[in-house]
Amino acid sequence: MTAPFDLTDDTVVVVIGTGAGGGVVANELAQKGISVVALEAGGRYTPDDFVNDEWESFGQLAWLDKRTTSGDWRVAKDFSGLPAWIVKAVGGTTTHWAGASLRFQEHEFKARTTYGNVPGANLIDWPVDLAEMAPWYEKAETKLGVTRTGNRPALPGNNNFKVFEAGAKKLGYKEVHTGNMAINSQDYDDRTSCQQTGFCFQGCKWGAKWSTAYTDIPRGEATGNLEVRERAHVVKIEHDGDGRATGVVYMDKDGNQKTQKARIVCVAGNSIESPRLLLLSASEKFPNGLANSSGQVGRNYMRHMTGSVYGVFDKPVKMWRGTTMAGIVQDEARHDPSRGFVGGYELETLALGLPFMAAFLNPGAWGREFATALDGYENMAGLWIVGEDMPQETNRITLNTAALDQYGNPVPNVHFTDHPNDVAMRTHAYKQGMAIYEALGATRVFPTPPYPSTHNLGTNRMSEDPREGVCDKWGQTHDVANLFISDGSQFTTGASENPTLTIVALAIRQADHIASEIAKGTI
């Protein structure tokens, strides 16, 4: 059934990465009869392979290739080799994600216009708006089976949500619910409903949470138009004298170098690997990296303003039971500069198992203050903060020539320092998060620092003006007509919402655009 394509076949679209961006664009193109070769650096795992064990699963799924870090962020100190907590596997980080599926707000597509000139921030407006995205969001919600949209019922709230909801309502928050989640609340699309198992981050063993690993990828393969090559790590995109992409060089599972010819190349390797690949593809014609005439490749790295709050109560909560992200407060997602910052943030429940709580509650801490916090684990409730962070040119992915990966290529260095707006927003969010639990009688609360980044965004951003960004409103790079950015690295700004739904909506829209351009004979 699966189509094998020849390495010399230059009619195929090559998609690099199989997560929310690459997996969707590959399937959508295959459904339209277009031949696609998807190259995935990681291996293939089915829900049966996933493990309900945090460290074991981390070893199975996490992207652990060598990386370096710099900047003032605490991750650079506590997890210097692990800037991001993302996945190297067929399905990418859709195996790991929590499932929160929120549309951006209208003003978030117009960040520069709405927020004005924020010193130190490299803000521009998106070249698309909510009205243009609305039908694509609807298609994405239907594909993912998002709860509380399209007449799909909400998920039930677990213990962690009940604590969160009660505290939030005591504070007067109104928009409190179990979220718009890509986790089935009833059987949907040949997948079962959520069994409240926990371990959403470790890959859903029921398949109740949407992941390209067991939806878009096998469906694309079933058309006969999609070939997925796993453990195929792309190291370079090649081009001809006219500056058109001609194929990609990759290392196969046995460490052999191969070149796959291509008609079109879609890059979806996440916001660290995607710009790295463009930089690694520098040539005489493109000395600063492919599609980098703007100098913006790798810049404006965003990771969302994040943090967590955990609260300990005098009675058990057992927060690990049930969906990991089980509910949301949206009241603070508005833009209201009277709070002392631009943009907004969401509060979403989160639970970690004991092993990860020990690693992430306060990295590096020890002694009785830390140990007694963990003694309260059973009585703990938790939430995660996700807010809009400011794009800054100096927060960026660069090639670190002093450190080489397993193929002898420079590793990516991830440099990040909070913008003052990020700090002000986090301070506000910690205060509100702690107040939620204190309103319900928490005996102790913990403002917990950001984890290694899962929302990596912005390093090949969309812009109307080719001098301000890497790609246009379709993800098509300004410099190379048959090269597309298909992942979250095309985000112009981060907004306050979890990014996956927008990545998927953009990917469906991009596939539609590519198909119509192919039909017109323009690329």
């Binding site: 493990v51 309900n52 064990d53 945090e54 460290w55 039930p156 709230g157 677990n158 213990n159 009940k162 604590v163 009660a166 959520c194 069994q195 409240q196 198992t197 926990g198 371990f199 063993k205 029921w206 009675k315 058990p316 909560v317 057992k318 690990w320 039971r321 049930g322 198992g353 004991l354 092993p355 709580m357 020990a358 690693a359 590096g364 020890w366 002694g367 009785r368 830390f370 140990a371 963990l374 003694d375 684990y377 059973e378 319900l440």
Partner: protein, 182 residues
């Protein structure tokens, strides 16, 4: 019967086979952990014993106490701390660990104690550890404990954590929303 600790997480079997009486007759108490003269350390209750081959038994006993002082959980027995640091008892690590523990004891002497183990209060030992917390030895031991201690499935129930749930059908019918005090 005393259970031997051989590998992390494996405390079953009875190879050591010491009775409490035998243990007491062959050991000297150092803190809560006994150093047994024949290359063992053991709990004062003789519930478990661990053979020590590359390290001096006194060094391992000190390391167990250091582990507890770094992450002190009063409801967790020494056995779990011993399992967490058992991996340091090998030829490659021995030199680093002996030097680290020697430095720890030197710091204790500098503060007027006979040794780290013989400084009676946790607060005294924590003061000693604070003085060396930037050292590679301390950071290695602390970092190793994050997984060595908290990723032992046997300690999870002591924190109330239930571990995997898929094989039991998740919590959909087992109390995912059973909180009663809201």
């Amino acid at each position: 019967m005393t259970r031997p600790i051989e590998e992390a997480g494996n405390t079953t079997g009875s190879r050591a086979g010491l009775t409490r009486r035998e243990l007491l007759s062959r050991s000297m108490a150092v803190g809560a952990v006994f150093v047994v003269g024949t290359g063992f350390i053991a709990s004062s209750t003789a519930a478990w014993a661990m053979e020590v081959t590359a390290l001096k038994p006194e060094t391992m006993a000190t390391l167990v106490q250091m582990a507890r002082d770094i992450y002190p959980h009063d409801r967790i027995a020494d056995e779990f701390y011993a399992i967490a640091v058992k991996g340091y008892d090998n030829a490659e690590m021995a030199e680093m660990v002996e030097a680290g523990i020697a430095a720890l004891n030197a710091a204790a002497k500098g503060k007027g104690h006979a040794s780290y183990l013989e400084s009676g209060w946790e607060r005294d030992r924590v003061d000693i550890l604070r003085g060396m917390e930037e050292s590679a030895f301390f950071q290695t031991v602390r970092g190793g404990l994050v997984t060595g201690l908290y990723n032992q499935k046997a300690v999870w129930p002591l924190f109330g954590y239930e571990g995997e749930s898929h094989s039991q059908g998740g919590y959909i019918a087992r109390g995912f929303d059973d909180i009663s005090w809201i």
